[in-house]
């Protein structure tokens, strides 16, 4: 099984801080790295995604940093807000563009942003 290792398992940050969630992978065939956000009672929703031809991607307050040589990628949340409290999953797939093989997910990070 191709693994994606995610850390930390849980994280508490004060409002306005910058939580960082890290993921590492082994399979060099992975070329699509999305992050999903899940609120209680809901399914995961795509937050932001990156391909390995870029080292960073920003969408609003969310940034993915990607280090291809280290096979690591991370999610940063700028100016975090209590509404960002959720579970975050990193994932990876050997197919960009929504391939049919299914994503391999990390185990998730439960993030709490304290007011």
């Amino acid at each position: 099984q191709q693994q994606v290792k995610q850390s930390p398992q849980s994280l508490i940050v004060q409002k306005g801080g910058i939580p960082i969630i890290n993921c590492a992978y082994e399979n060099t065939a992975f070329d699509y790295f999305p992050w999903y956000q899940q609120f209680p009672g809901k399914g995961p929703a795509l937050l932001i995604a990156i391909r390995p031809d870029v080292s960073e991607k920003k969408e609003g307050r969310f940034t993915i940093s990607f280090n291809k040589s280290a096979k690591q990628f991370s999610l940063h949340i700028m100016d975090s807000q209590p509404g960002d409290s959720a579970t975050y999953f990193c994932a990876a797939s050997p197919h960009s563009g929504g391939g049919a093989d299914g994503l391999t997910f990390g185990k998730g990070t439960h993030l709490i942003i304290q007011p």
Binding site: Q1, Q6, Q9, Y32, P34, Y36, G41, K42, G43, P44, A45, L46, A49, R51, F89, S96, G97, G98, G99, A100, D101, G102, L103, T104, F105, G106, K107, G108
Partner: protein
């Protein structure tokens, strides 16, 4: 918006029962997936399908089967439910594109309890 609808939010079944979990998507997506989500284990792929009547095993297919008779509908079947299949089940769908990054759209999940 793409919608992935799972027929039941909560189900309670007895050990040994045959259980059907239904999933319908309304955006003509080729690919459909079933995941289970367990605390500390993240999301694990059970089965996926990239076309009508086609199915592929994911990482944990044992004890499950699937059916995809129509493009919009993907059913997960527990042939003889066991207590270790108590979990949150998530259905997802995606479009197979090229060049761009497409996300997976998840349903809200079915929380199954086997007693």
């Amino acid at each position: 918006d793409v919608k992935v609808t799972q027929s039941s939010r909560y189900l309670v079944k007895r050990t040994g029962e045959k259980v059907f979990l239904e999933c319908v998507q309304d955006m003509d997506h080729e690919n459909m997936f079933w995941y289970r989500q367990d605390p500390g284990l993240g999301l694990r792929l059970i089965y996926f399908s990239y076309d009508v009547k086609m199915k592929e095993k994911g990482d944990i297919p044992e004890g499950y089967s699937v059916s995809r008779e129509k493009k919009e509908r993907f059913s997960l079947i527990l042939e003889s439910a066991s207590t270790n299949q108590t979990s949150m089940y998530l259905c997802a769908s995606s479009f197979t594109g090229t060049g761009d990054i497409y996300g997976y759209t998840f349903g809200s999940g079915t929380r199954l309890t086997v007693v």
